[in-house]
Amino acid sequence: MSERPQHRRPATFNLDDPGVIVMDPDDASRPARGTVHVTPETDPALLPVAVEAPVLPMQRGFRWGAVFWTAIAGLVLLGTGLGVAHLIEDLFARSESLGWLGLGFAFAAALALVVVIAREALGLARLATIEKLHQRAAAVLLSDDRPESRAILRDLLKVAHQNPQLARARATLTGHADDIIDGADLIRLAERELMTPLDQEARRLISSAAQRVSIVTAVSPRALVDVLFVFAASLRLIRQLARLYGGRPGALGMIRLMRHVIAHVAITGGMAASDSLIQQVLGHGLAAKLSQRLGEGVLNGLLTARLGLAAIDVTRPLPFTALPRPALGDLAKDLLRKRDSDV
């Protein structure tokens, strides 16, 4: 047909025909010329689908705890306000200039409080957006829903907009947005384009934090210093990772993130223990033979690294499908190599 030159005619090949050869998909050899080769494809429906368990169990029911804390916070705020009002009244009674000064301080404090609250709220909303994106992306990977994948891509580009390193990746993705790509494939494409540099950076952050922790633990004079340092380093790491993947957590956001990360460590703990921790513990045993402090240092470093990996899972806006999930083993190798060169 002239108007559709690319149209291919229907054809049927009888498999019993000697001119038709059925080939194994893994077979790379090239059989005789002039024959027709039929290569059965692996059935996409029978391939195992990697289903990510939701990072957190779904919230259900009425949140009485939240009501309690809100009410208490309101009461405290009212009490403070009352106290401040009394204080300013007293100040005015004593001297007018003192009163004005007090009023000025009170206003400044109120303003700062409003700004802080607004920032916290924004940070929380942003974290929630990212979490939601993660869940939606996981759902699309299953359902292959094309319009939904387009919507996710738009939101993802919005989240990634603040990161100047991703300008080129964003442009590439925007170019692909109107192509015919299946839903799940689009998500994988977005992951490859946007997440590759971020994942590398995240790995670097985790391994440097882990190294720092292990060194400090090895040389610190007291156990209390260890604990405080590990805690501070973990907080800092989680904050850095959240920022890297597009979140801007404030104090409340950090509390929320910490809870998620710890919950995630607990959920995935069993899995990790089976695959890689055993060898790490063995390695630790060896290191502990050499020096007790050295062994503790390595173990603390590994724990920090595990925390960081859990934080990646919680803060990353897309689930791991196209890219490999960073494994504890890789980070541990970095850590031990560094330790060896230090010692």
């Binding site: 009888n14 996409p44 779904m58």
Partner: protein, 489 residues
């Protein structure tokens, strides 16, 4: 005025029953799912696969309540309507799995009740009753007759039968029609032979080579227990313009029988079954239309538009649930997607979306959800790449049903073949550009056709597990999620 009054009575009756149903279903919600499609679209296979998958446990990753394990079990129960035949699920499963044959086609309405025990997302234990109502799509095309007089219908049918390629098939009937005088005396024998020739013409249009869809009245092709009764013994006549039927004439007899057809056949169906549906899936065999040619595709589009005009669609509100149940979700499914390589499924969907575009636009204003999906309730084929010289053809592997013909070879139902059915265009508009859009069996020789979709036998399944094998499918889970997923939240 009398007609107006009877309409009001009818509406009141429907409302009263809807109110009673609502009371019954307040605690144990019931969803009436209508499954329809023109003949050979795959209604029976769809229902069989759906019930088999839900009761026995199939692979439904996209059907959320099932995939997350919230559905405890699904079981069959006796249906509530005593006058409606039961859907013969057990026999259909046996035919599919052990005999590897497609079940016989739907000729009558049938119903089956499926009870699903599930747990809501907040943890409460609930039961959803799913009444699956299976009825031939041809009956839907009868519903517009309710608003048409005999004269109108007669004129439209005649005009349609004089278009190509129908005119060729209608020739014997047209010849007999020319001998009849509408104002002559009524004559039972003339009416009988006119009805017989008219039915033959309709049946010929349905043949695989033409695959016409718009063929009312539907009961002529599947008469059931009314075969031979006067209500089915009428045909269009060449009527004089602007005149009324003289008493005792053939014309008056036809008018009477046409009205009887509406009263005996169409209205009861509308009242007892159709007006009570909550959800609807319309199965469409677009591939048969591709095989036949552009006329068949245009006819299919017209038939789909006709079907959509019948539905009472709109978002269900509390008030409408009380007095006038509405269909709030309609899924159009292009069946037999397994006859295409999966890379072409999107194009098939696009074609169907194009065919129902007008209807979708109308439904969006009413708040109802309409979706389009390419599915295969039972997947009969595997996929393969065929390399012929430099060319790589995305093909499918399967066993063609016995009697299928391709490349001049007739298959016996045991040989396996790889077939490439032809490329669907990227832009569905290309298929709708008129009679020269592509070549089908109705106008060209078999080897010249642009598409060739073979019919395959059901797949060979290994009998693992105590409940028999799971039936493979394509996107049946997505269809389920759309149709009842929200009721299982």
């Amino acid at each position: 005025m009398a007609l107006r009054f009877s309409d009001i009575v009818e509406e009141a009756w429907l409302s009263a029953r809807a109110l009673r149903d609502f009371g019954d279903h307040f605690f144990n919600p019931t969803v009436r799912l209508g499954v329809t499609g023109l003949s050979r679209a795959g209604k029976t296979v769809f229902i069989t696969a759906l019930i088999h998958g839900l009761t026995r446990g199939g692979r439904f990753p996209v059907f959320e309540p099932f995939a997350t394990g919230r559905i405890a079990r699904a079981r069959l129960e006796p249906q509530p309507d005593d006058a409606v035949p039961r859907f013969d699920y057990e026999n259909h499963v046996r035919t599919l799995i052990t005999e590897r044959r497609w079940p016989n086609s739907t000729v009558d309405i049938s119903e089956l009740r499926l009870v699903i025990d599930y747990q809501r997302q907040n943890g409460a234990d609930r039961t959803l009753t799913l009444d699956i109502v299976d009825y031939p799509g041809e009956w839907l095309l009868d519903l517009p007759l309710l608003n048409k007089s005999y004269e109108q219908w007669s004129q439209e049918s005649l005009a349609l039968s004089r278009e190509q390629p129908r005119a060729k098939l209608a020739a014997p009937w047209h010849a007999q029609l020319a001998t009849l005088s509408a104002e002559g005396r009524e004559d039972e024998q003339a009416a009988l032979s006119a009805a017989r020739l008219f039915t033959d013409y309709l049946r010929a249009c349905r043949d695989e080579r033409f695959a016409m869809s718009l063929l009312p009245p539907g009961r002529f092709l599947m008469p059931g227990n009314l075969a031979g009764s006067p209500a089915l013994t009428f045909a269009p006549l060449d009527l004089p313009q602007q005149s009324i039927a003289p008493e005792g004439s053939l014309w008056a007899m036809m008018v009477r029988r046409y009205e009887a057809y509406k009263d005996v056949v169409v209205r009861p169906f509308f009242r007892d079954h159709f007006s009570r549906l909550d959800r609807q899936i319309v199965l469409v065999d677009a591939l048969a239309a591709f095989n036949a040619g552009p006329e068949a595709l245009a006819d299919l589009e017209a038939a789909l538009a006709g079907i959509l005009d019948c539905f009472r669609i709109g978002r269900s509100t509390l008030l409408s649930a009380l007095f006038r149940p509405k269909i709030d979700r309609i899924l159009f499914a292009a069946t037999k997607a397994d006859h295409l390589h999966h890379s072409s499924h999107d194009r098939l969907e696009a074609v169907l979306r194009r065919a129902v575009a007008r209807a979708v636009a109308r439904a969006e204003n009413t708040g109802a959800d309409i979706d389009v999906v390419a599915l295969a309730a039972v997947r009969a084929t595997r996929e393969a790449t065929v390399a012929r010289g430099r060319e790589k053809l995305p093909s499918i592997l399967g066993t063609p049903a016995s009697g299928e013909i391709a490349n001049g070879e007739t298959f016996d139902g045991t040989t396996e073949v790889a077939t490439f059915p032809g490329d669907l265009p990227l832009d569905p508009e290309q298929l709708f550009t008129g009679e020269t859009a592509f070549r089908g069996l109705s106008s060209a020789a078999a080897e010249k056709a642009d598409f060739r979709f073979l019919r395959f036998r059901p797949p060979q399944l290994d009998n693992e597990g105590p409940d028999g094998p799971a039936l493979p499918h394509i996107r049946l889970d997505r269809a389920l999620q759309f149709l009842i997923g929200d009721k299982l939240q």
